[in-house]
Amino acid sequence: MDVIQPFLDNAFLRNALGAGMLAAWACAVVGTYMVLRGLSFIGDALSHGVLPGVAGALLLGLPAMGGAAVGSAVMIGGISLIQRRTRLSGDTAIGLLFVGMLALGVVLVSRSNSFSGDLIKILFGEILASTPGDMALQAVALGVTGFLAWLLRRPFLLLCFSPEHAQVSGYSPRLLHMVMLAMIAATVIVSFQTVGTMLVFGLLVAPAATAALFARRMGVLMAGAGVLGSLSVFIGLNLSYQFNFAAGASITVSAVALFFLALPLKHWLDTRANRG
């Protein structure tokens, strides 16, 4: 079975590969910080919190991306409101908003005539229908988040090390945290249309988690996550083309499968290092 030929033969597959890889690299940048700071749950909540926004926009005939932006703003605002006004933990605040927004999204989508079709489109995207326009927007978002990650690499590293340390070094941990959340939100917003909210989350967390098993430098971790994410996109699209699987879900499965394949490798390397 030829794994390259399908991409040479089909323009739609090439577009899907391009859009998927742009999403993979954007997710690698912000996913690295998400995994290091234990923000996976908030990332998950953000990627699903856009659902009611998107559904509302669909019903009103407005651009889906605008709806997604409103959805994630409500999500972040709601979480920080609960955390400031109550003694509930961050987890509880995120969980409340997460399940509420997801349910609200389903309620809104259920008004549409093609209920399950629309829902699946939002959750898993339409990567095979990616256009050069989608890709241009993704490239801009990747450029902006990549630049911010480079510019703020020192304060971000301090924040990952210890928020108190970041503060004593003269940075505001709260401001840095908000910038980080905004970067995650921006990545979700521009990526979900092509790859879907579920897949965005998969690409945010799985490649970075796999790379974190091995990396000893920040840059290596991020680049490793990008390569692993791109590899997942490539494998997933191939599986989808050869076996007629759903494309977005195949990519997500590939990304998670790579993590579980990497685990025994990590174990083997550790035992070898301990013996040597």
């Binding site: 995994v35 290091l36 700071r37 234990g38 510019l151 703020l152 020192r154 304060p155 590293l157 301090l158 990952c160 090390f161 210890s162 108190e164 340390h165 503060q167 004593v168 070094s169 003269g170 974190a212 990396a215 000893r216 430098r217 920040m218 290596v220 971790l221």
Partner: protein, 236 residues
């Protein structure tokens, strides 16, 4: 020694009450430290040692009164301050080598993008050498033992070249060799005119400081180290 005129006041608390949110831990603290002084914060668990360090570092706002650090507010003084908290919960995933942690000492001075200078790298190497941490300088911080990690954090503090150093239980996890190196570093900092504040359970460590602030359930007492510590009930 009293307040000799001309010596800079590095740390000054006036009617300072400290605590978390609305719960006061210590009330009405009054003390001042001159450049080059070393102060031991002594007291049991929950007596407010860490709270006081965090207030001086600008991590907690004072509940009442004022605290002046290097002639200004704590948050405005961060660039001339070094802080060593209790780092037990260092993220094991963080891809950092021991030397990378010490390099962070220069982040406040070099800002967002200025490269570290060759002399900065030299200071970092010297600090690692001082705490005999060169052998594991290139190892991931997550693979070090607690004692090795503490040496790396102490090297960070030394490399920071701050005017005021705040340390919370700096002896934790250190073996005898590490404690000896720490003691030498403290003497050196004192000679160089650096002001040091240490929260400690260890009375021997406290005795190495020339000033002491004892925090207890019945109030606080500040003064010359040997005098204040002599009056201390032997609760250890």
């Amino acid at each position: 020694m009293g307040d000799t005129p001309g010596k800079t006041i590095v740390l000054e608390a006036v009617g300072l009450s400290i605590g978390h949110e609305k719960k006061t831990v210590v009330e009405g603290l009054d003390f001042r430290l001159e450049a080059g002084a070393t102060l031991a914060l002594v007291g049991g668990n929950g007596s407010g040692k860490t709270t006081l360090l965090r207030t001086v570092a600008g991590l907690l706002p004072p509940l009442a009164g004022t605290v002046r650090v290097l002639g200004t507010t704590p948050s405005a003084a961060t660039r001339r301050l070094a802080w060593l908290g209790q780092f037990q919960n260092t993220n094991p995933l963080l891809p950092l080598r021991a030397r990378d942690v010490v390099r962070m000492a220069f982040y406040p001075d070099r800002g967002l993008w200025h490269r570290l200078k060759a002399e900065d790298e030299q200071v970092i190497d010297d600090a690692l050498q001082y705490f005999e941490a060169v052998a594991f300088a290139k190892k991931p911080i997550s693979e070090l033992s607690g004692g090795q990690r503490q040496r790396v954090y102490l090297a960070y503090v030394l490399a920071r070249r701050a005017d005021l150093i705040l340390m919370d239980e700096p002896l934790s996890n250190l073996d005898n060799g590490g404690m000896e190196l720490y003691g030498r570093a403290l003497e050196r900092l004192q000679r160089e005119g650096t002001t040091v504040v240490v929260a400690t359970h260890n009375l021997e460590d406290a005795a190495a400081c020339n000033k002491a602030l004892v925090l207890g359930p019945d109030g606080w007492q500040f003064g010359e180290g040997h005098e204040v510590l002599r009056n201390l009930p032997h609760h250890h």
